[in-house]
Every structure is written in structure tokens, then in C-alpha cells.
Point group: C2
Amino acid sequence: MFKKVLIIEDDAMLRSSIVQTLELEDLEPIPTNGFTQARRSIRHNFRGVILSDIKMPDHDGFDVLRFAQTKDEELPVILLTGHSDVPTAKRAIKEGAYDYLEKPCAPDTMIEALHRALKQRTLIMENREVRDELEQTNSDQTEGTLSERLEMHERRIIEEALSDADGKVAIAAEALGIPRNTLYDRMGKFNIVAKAFRKPTGN
Amino acid sequence: MFKKVLIIEDDAMLRSSIVQTLELEDLEPIPTNGFTQARRSIRHNFRGVILSDIKMPDHDGFDVLRFAQTKDEELPVILLTGHSDVPTAKRAIKEGAYDYLEKPCAPDTMIEALHRALKQRTLIMENREVRDELEQTNSDQTEGTLSERLEMHERRIIEEALSDADGKVAIAAEALGIPRNTLYDRMGKFNIVAKAFRKPTGN
DNA sequence: AAAATTTGTCCGAAATTTCGGGAATTTTTA
DNA sequence: TAAAAATTCCCGAAATTTCGGACAAATTTT
């Protein structure tokens, strides 16, 4: 599970207090004093969540939220808000903020919210990874001649076997259940050289 | 996104109030009056989350939580708790509850928490689906003779082509770039009959 | 109902693949 | 360094695959 929490808070005291709270919970706070400083950390595939004050000198929490959404639509942003700003925070949620915390808030409450956000972020990133993987393995071949597709597959099988056998043709041939000579025949057809598959680790 | 919310609440008034709140938000409440009644709805792959009172005549929220976890480790459970029971709720969170709400709670707050839980549940289920799919397509063949693996693949290609061609061998053959007769040869080898691929829609 | 098209099967020649044997060369092992 | 093993290539016979032609049966179109 992810642990990074990008903290955007101009009040130095509060900021370090939050950092301490998170560190006690084995999270990884990344403290910043405002939007400008935080900006470069906010990027697609950020492996964590954002915890931002809503009211700051230069920019407000909405700036953070909007910027985060341009970088990654599914990057959870939790806003810290004073009691009088709760309606603002609710509006922020409608615009995609993940949650808000009313200042001052109990450490427990903050940790609970962060855990939920981090869990969601982890799930989102896992989802993306698995989907990418699926797309790759699925992009096998959907067009082309039967023989072209079969040759593509045969090449892959042979290369995989050679790779597993550390480039040793004899071993690969046995694994594939064919005589060495036959494998050489096939390799010749596909312009595969065994050397390319030797020494998978180091050199 | 999922919308089901299994409500476990013995107080009929509060229960119907919650139902109304959820319906206004286009969610799908499933009201029950206690653990016994809810039990049969709690199952693996439930497409929603659980919202349960923590203090009830027959069983308490922990019973619900534990039972849910035996059915599905990743089924979010939100607990409704009186003010005096907040410490209990925090303990429940450590045991895997997703969140808790202090009674009486503002409809907005409840909806926000439910949305987060439903979003997480949706992500979890998507994750499972994609992983299953990946496992299937990945279980191609990692062992066996070269010819065995190639034949398996050839069979799949042919069946896919026939399926696309509505079981018409001539069309499938053209798509595969081979003469019709050759495809018949191959089909004979694999015991594939074209009829099996006809009429994919209706009859 | 007749005509036209498609299906499914068989045949046989040409092309390709398989595979054992052999042998020169390189790499690894002892 | 000597021996053992593996690589890479060539050959040729046996087996398999490809593919066009032909044709009866089944289906669809007209």
C-alpha cells in the first residue's frame, strides 16, 4: 500500500505537527509550504495522496484540486478546512475532492481518512497496472495470415524456451520436445541466434 | 459505480430515514432490521457496501463486520455509532471496518462516506475482474511440446476466425489467407465442425 | 421450381517440415 | 591443456502440409 502524503500547508507549526503524526503511523509525509512548492510533486501516477490546506496566502485548495485533476483525474485530494469553511469543502467534494477534515482535527481522524485515501489510490494504480498488462498480452495478433500468426507465435515460443535455457539450444530443444536439428532448422528460418539468449544475468 | 447499500438498523424510523436519504442520492438501499435478516445478503462479490448500526438487540456491529470479512475480506463496512461509542468504532476500524458515522449524522456526511466506500468497492471488483481475465488469457500454455503448443494456438485462431465469419468456412479461409481446402484440412485435423460456429445471434 | 452459390470431401502433385546422421568449429569443463 | 559437450551447418529420406481441381450434397437466391 502507498504511504506518500503530499502535505500543502503554509502554517509551519501545523505542518510539522502533521508530519509528526504521519511519521508515527509509518506514513511518508512530503511537507510543502504552498502550491508553488508542491506543484512539481503533483504528477500522473503519483504513488500517494494530497493533503492540502484550503485557505492559503497565494493559492487556495481549489487551485490544488484543479491542478491535481489536470495531472491525474484519480489522485485523491483531502482538504483541511476551518469550521467556517465547511460549506466550501463540501463544494470541493462535488468537484472531485476525496474528503475534507475540519481543523483542528484529531490525529486519529486524519489518519483514518488518509488510510482510506491511500487505499483507494493503491487500488487505482493496481488497476492501471493490471489493465496495461492485459492490453500487452492481449495485443497478440488479431490480423494477418494464419501462417504469419503461427510463425509469430512459434518465434515467441522458441525465444522463450531459449531464454529459459540460457541460450543453450540442446536444452531448449529438449524442453520443446523436438530434436536439436529441428530446432536449428526453425531458428534458421526465423533468424534466431542462440548467443543472444545467453547470460541473462550480468556479463 | 456500484450503488447498493445494505442497511442494518433495528430502529425502523432511522432505517426509513436512511433509505430516503440514499434514494434521493440515486443509491440503492437494501434495508434490513438486523444481522439475521441481513445475513443472506452478505456474500462474496456483493456489488455494494454495508452500513450497519453498531449497537443492536441481537447482534452488534462487530458480528456484522466479522461475518462480512469471512464472506469477503474486502467488503467495506461502515458502522453507525452513538457518541459514547466512538472508541468502540475506532477499534472496529482497526479490525477492518471501512469507516464509522456518529449518530446523528448529517445526510451529506453519510452520503460522502458511502460514496467513498462504494468507489472503493467498485475499484476492488474491477481489480478482481481484470485479474481473472489476465489469468485466463495468460494461461495459454507454458509447457508441452512445441507442436502441441502451436496446434493449440492454431486451433484457437481457426475457431476465432470461424466465429467471426459466422461459421462460413470460405470467409474464414479468406480472412486467414489460405485456400478453402487447406482450412478444411486443418479443421479435419482438429475435429472442428463449422456448424458449431453458425448463428451467433438468435436462431 | 429452377438456377446459382456454397459446403464438405476426396484426390494427387508440389512444397515444406521433420529428423537422424555426420562433421568442423567453438565453448565449457575437468 | 586435454577431454567433453555444444554449436552450427549440410545432406537426404520420410512424413506432413499445402493447394488446386473436381464433384455431390446442401443451401440460398431468383
